[in-house]
């Protein structure tokens, strides 16, 4: 069995290496990916969206539909883990998983976490808000926000983190982030443009159209950040406690 697996992997590896020879060189301006659309984005995106970071403008504006469903995928992944693992009092599990030994509270760890968590959250908000100008955006900021809550749950315990952020609220907000994204897109539809064509907001907010694109992107990034934050936290509390939310790692 093991030899067959090794053989299959070797054959696949050789095939992949042969295929990799045909890939364009890194950063090749003549590669198919960069001859059709890249020039347009590089030249026009600042005039059209007033966002200096082209990655953000492509991700949240030109490819906004993709990003919306990426957020939906994250939401679905979180919900699936919840469905499989979550155990309530009514739905007792037959198998009791071996719970790792938990030593008593560590005051150094808890004080350090208490100092770190606000810094992490502030930095995450900066990453979300500054995604227009520097690397970052909703996904990264949401993950950092989520990991600040995970740090809280790791250094204290899950109960303490859940006391600050109830499970019901976590699930409500994880759906709310996606809905916020979709609502911004739908509003454009009702204002007489295409879905997620943020230019429609210009007349309503009294700003120029590129600025409306920029604000629309900020709105959807906030939606993404909320969903990612809630799903990351929900994934952690379900996986680390084995589904009963009593104790974590």
């Amino acid at each position: 069995m093991k030899k067959t697996a090794l053989l299959i992997i070797a054959v696949l590896g050789i095939l992949l290496l042969r295929a990799a020879e045909d890939l364009p060189f890194w950063g090749d301006p003549q590669s198919p990916a960069s001859v059709h659309l890249s020039d347009y984005y590089l030249e026009e995106s600042y005039e059209e969206t007033s966002v200096p970071n082209i990655v953000t403008s492509v991700l949240a504006d030109y490819r906004g539909y993709d990003t919306m469903f990426e957020t939906v995928v994250i939401f679905c992944a979180g919900i699936t883990v919840l469905i499989v693992l979550r155990r309530t009092h009514r739905r007792r599990a037959k198998v009791i998983s071996p719970r790792p030994e938990r030593p008593g509270a560590d005051i150094i760890l808890q004080t350090a976490a208490r100092l770190l968590v606000p810094m992490m959250q502030l930095f995450a908000l900066y990453v979300v808000a500054h995604g227009h100008h520097s690397p970052g955006g909703g996904f990264q900021g949401g993950v950092i926000l989520g990991s600040s809550l995970i740090l809280l749950a790791l250094s204290y315990d899950i109960q303490m983190a859940l006391h600050r952020f109830k499970e019901k609220l976590v699930l409500l907000f994880s759906a709310g982030g996606v809905l916020l994204y979709a609502a911004i897109g739908l509003a454009c539809l009702f204002l007489g443009r295409n879905f997620l064509a943020y230019g429609a907001w210009a007349a309503l907010l009294g700003i120029s159209e590129p600025e409306a694109h920029s604000h629309g992107m900020l709105g959807v990034e906030i939606g993404v950040a909320i969903t990612v934050l809630c799903i990351m936290f929900s994934l952690y509390i379900d996986l680390a406690s084995g589904g009963d939310l009593d104790e974590g790692l």
Binding site: K2, F25, W26, G27, D28, P29, N53, V55, T56, S97, P98, P100, P135, G136, G137, F139, Q140, V143, I144, G146, S147, I150, L154, M232, L235, Y236, L239, A240, G242, G248, L249
Partner: protein, 87 residues
């Protein structure tokens, strides 16, 4: 115009063997907790590679998701299943 892809080949030469070592180690270790930690190290090295290729947005995501959260999630899962892998 052709692009000079050997911009930072010394850096590549340093990082790429470590990436391969990490990948093989993560597959061959029996202890799942060590595997989780090594996959975190793998993500961190990949993050360095993305930075070197000037894909800073991707590197940021790799650092936050790959090296940060997913390591914690893997550790949390590894402690709840049997720690020793069979193969």
């Amino acid at each position: 115009m052709t692009w000079d892809a050997s911009l930072l080949w010394q850096f590549d030469l340093l990082i790429l063997p470590m990436v391969i070592i990490c990948a093989i180690a993560a597959l061959s270790f029996k202890d799942l907790v060590s595997c989780a930690v090594i996959s975190g190290a793998f993500s961190f090295l990949m993050c360095l590679l993305w930075t070197e290729m000037l894909a800073v947005d991707v590197a940021f995501t790799e650092a936050a998701v790959g090296a940060g959260v997913s390591t914690v999630l893997l550790l949390g899962t590894a402690l709840h299943v049997k720690r020793k892998s069979k193969d």
